[in-house]
């Protein structure tokens, strides 16, 4: 009789989820699925609100990446208001976004994922967290806390507060940054960049000690998607959309994000509230694409800052003959490379004069367009805000496609591969189940964003027989 394992909810990600595993009598994993079980209906209850409220409303979806929602929304309402931000406003937005990328990536690697790697997936789960990390790597932990704080301070310097800043308006920004504050933040850059480089050293050290795991852990082919600059370079704030095929060849390039529905479809499955976006020309499920750090680095030609570009060239040395990196664990490396880029962009922006300019807001003509699509590269991947309004500016339709949703297929595939590779159904250990969680955490999902749910719970693992009877329960 087949056995059925559940891990509910997955810890150290944002929001509610569970993993189920059906295991045959022979102990082989027959099926593994990643379920998202929350629903909040943000798109629906925004209908009827005035479009200008959306940057403030939608950033409440998440406490980790509110800046991404705020800015994607701001870009959408720029289009609705037929305006374009001034150069100073655009730089302020990008600077705040880089602060967001940096703090989120530092948090993801050092505090959420590195305990699995540096303390080991089989280590005591009571200590396999940031407290345990601090006991074993106190200096790195403190440096990482400070690095994250730097990113948050950059957000607060522009948006007034670290969480849920409120500053972007149609055509610009409501507030700027002083040269004095800019200089203070700039002075810290080297220290925090060094922390990211330390993270890469720690990660590489772990990879050298665990080449077998790196090779066997959720390696699979897929499409990749994200924004790129005009030369195919990494672009996290603006740019056009590109999708690359599983062999690294560009499938669609410089695609206007306003027309995304022509190439992106969404599939619904009955066992999860999280949809499955896919690249339409390739169909479903073959057209499932990965976004976020791994998706982006597999989708670009270069990185336009020197230290990040050097690390990107090193990254390419780990790729396959097509120049593609398929390994899920490489999300961590890609994330740290992007953190380097964010630190360098922060330095570039704060070192210039334009970000301190007085011209924060463009004129708005007073006319409205009826549809606007704002898109940005959030820490976890491409984030789409699509609004339709009536003649009075009231929203009649809202569609949000978030990063975690676009990685839904990849997370399911990763869990299944890891379960089949590492789980012995006859002798299930906590460490085996944690490896499935590691596959999820590598994507750094934000289920609060993807389903707009809130909250978290301790982990519960349950084993059922084929008829649904509870056979075993493991709580920690």
């Amino acid at each position: 009789m087949a056995k059925h394992y559940e891990i509910e909810p997955v810890t150290r990600i944002e929001g509610h989820a569970k993993i189920t595993c059906v295991v045959s009598d022979e102990g082989k994993v027959e099926q593994a699925r990643f379920h998202v079980v929350e629903f909040r209906g943000f798109e629906k209850f925004c209908e009827g609100r005035h479009f200008s409220e959306m940057p403030t409303l939608t950033e409440r979806i998440c406490g980790i990446c509110p800046v991404s929602h705020h800015l994607a929304s701001a870009k959408a309402i720029d289009i609705l208001a037929n305006t374009k931000p001034t150069r100073t406003a655009a730089l302020l937005r990008e600077l705040m976004h880089m602060g967001q990328i940096f703090q989120s990536h530092a948090l993801s690697f050092f505090h959420l994922s590195s305990p699995d790697l540096l303390l080991g997936p089989d280590s005591d789960p009571a200590l396999r967290n940031v407290v345990g990390l601090a006991r074993n790597f106190p200096d790195a932990t403190v440096a990482a806390v400070k690095a994250r704080k730097w990113g948050q301070e950059i957000i607060a310097a522009i948006g007034g507060r670290k969480i849920h800043p409120n500053c972007a308006v149609p055509g610009g920004m409501a507030a700027g940054i002083s040269r004095e504050r800019g200089a203070e933040l700039l002075a810290e850059k080297t220290q925090h960049l060094d922390t990211i480089l330390l993270g890469i050293d720690l990660l590489m050290g772990w990879c050298k000690q665990n080449p077998d795991v790196v090779q066997r852990f959720a390696r699979f082919s897929s499409y990749f998607g994200g924004l790129v600059g005009p030369k195919g370079e990494l672009e996290l704030y603006d740019g056009d959309f590109r999708i690359s095929d599983p062999h690294g060849k560009v499938a669609v390039d410089q695609f206007n994000p306003q027309d995304y529905l022509n190439i992106i479809g969404e599939r619904v499955e009955s066992w999860t509230t999280l949809k499955f976006p896919y690249y339409k020309p390739a169909g479903y499920p073959d057209g499932a694409y990965r976004v976020g750090p791994l998706g982006r680095l597999n989708n670009i030609d270069s990185i336009p800052t020197p230290r990040a570009q050097a690390e990107y060239e090193r990254w390419k040395s780990f790729c396959n003959e097509d120049g593609v990196q398929e390994g899920t664990l490489f999300y961590h490396y890609a994330r740290l490379i992007e953190a380097i880029y964010a630190a360098e962009r922060i330095e570039q922006i704060l070192s210039g004069d334009e970000v301190y300019g007085p011209d924060l807001m463009a004129q708005t003509p007073g006319t409205l367009s009826h549809r606007g699509v704002g898109v940005i590269e959030a820490p976890r991947g491409t984030l789409w805000h699509d609004y339709t309004i009536d003649d009075n500016g009231a929203l009649t339709n809202v569609n949000l496609i978030v990063s975690t949703g676009q990685n839904n297929s990849a997370m399911c595939k990763s869990v299944e591969l890891v379960a089949q590779e590492f789980v012995d159904g006859k002798n299930v250990t906590e460490g085996m189940l944690n490896r499935m969680e590691m596959a999820i955490r590598a994507h750094d999902p934000c289920l609060s964003c993807s389903t707009h749910a809130v909250g978290q719970m301790p982990i519960l693992i349950e084993m059922y027989d084929e008829q649904g009877g509870l056979m075993q329960r493991i709580a920690r």
């Binding site: 810890t11 150290r12 990600i13 944002e14 406490g63 980790i64 948090l107 505090h111 959420l112 789960p125 009571a126 200590l127 396999r128 967290n129 940031v130 407290v131 345990g132 601090a134 006991r135 106190p138 932990t141 403190v142 806390v145 994250r148 704080k149 948050q152 007034g160 507060r161 969480i163 849920h164 609060s448 909250g455 978290q456 301790p458 982990i459 920690r476």
Partner: protein
């Protein structure tokens, strides 16, 4: 003594603002500026009877607070709870082995991190009152308001005492 008082919660969700309310009553008593409901979560420091007192309101506990905690002798965590008991003043114990999320750190985890990362885990007290409703409004229910007033009195009496705040005399209030 160096005392840090951290209130957290969302004052726009009715009784979830209990910590914010208590903090402002303490601020009034200690001569510290009030934290505006609509403003940025804030902090300030003052000397009280020869002690150094710092208060802050944050939206959520996160790991950045560990550094602040490591610099003081005692930390009070002010919040609402949903258990049956009306008032809780209890020492913060070590975390019980749950995995962590970044959104919601517990007081226990913040103090444990202060100890493991910064070398000093201060004494901590969880000071919470039962909340009745958590809907969208910026007012406390009458029962929770009464508990907040009682909690304020207990903290003013014991926050800076050598033995710390006490629930005595017992009672729901």
């Amino acid at each position: 003594m160096n005392l840090l008082v951290i209130a957290y919660g969302n004052p726009s969700r009715m009784d979830d603002g209990a910590g914010h309310y208590i903090l402002n009553r303490l601020n009034e008593a200690w001569g510290l500026p009030l934290v505006d409901l609509l403003g940025e979560p804030g902090e300030d420091t003052v000397a009280v009877d020869g002690h150094r007192v710092r208060t802050m309101w944050v939206q959520q506990l996160d790991m950045g607070l560990a550094e602040d905690c490591a610099q003081v002798d005692r930390v009070l965590f002010l919040d609402a709870h949903v258990d049956d008991v009306g008032l809780v003043i209890a020492p913060v114990t070590d975390p019980s082995g749950l995995g962590l999320t970044s959104h919601v750190l517990t007081a226990a985890t913040v103090l444990a991190l202060a100890g493991s990362a910064y070398g000093h885990r201060p004494e901590g007290f969880r000071c919470t009152v039962r909340g009745e409703r958590f809907d969208f409004a910026d007012e406390l229910t009458p029962d929770t308001l009464r508990r907040c007033q009682t909690m304020t009195e207990r903290l003013l009496a014991g926050a800076l005492a050598p033995e710390g705040p006490s629930l005595e005399p017992a009672g729901d209030a």
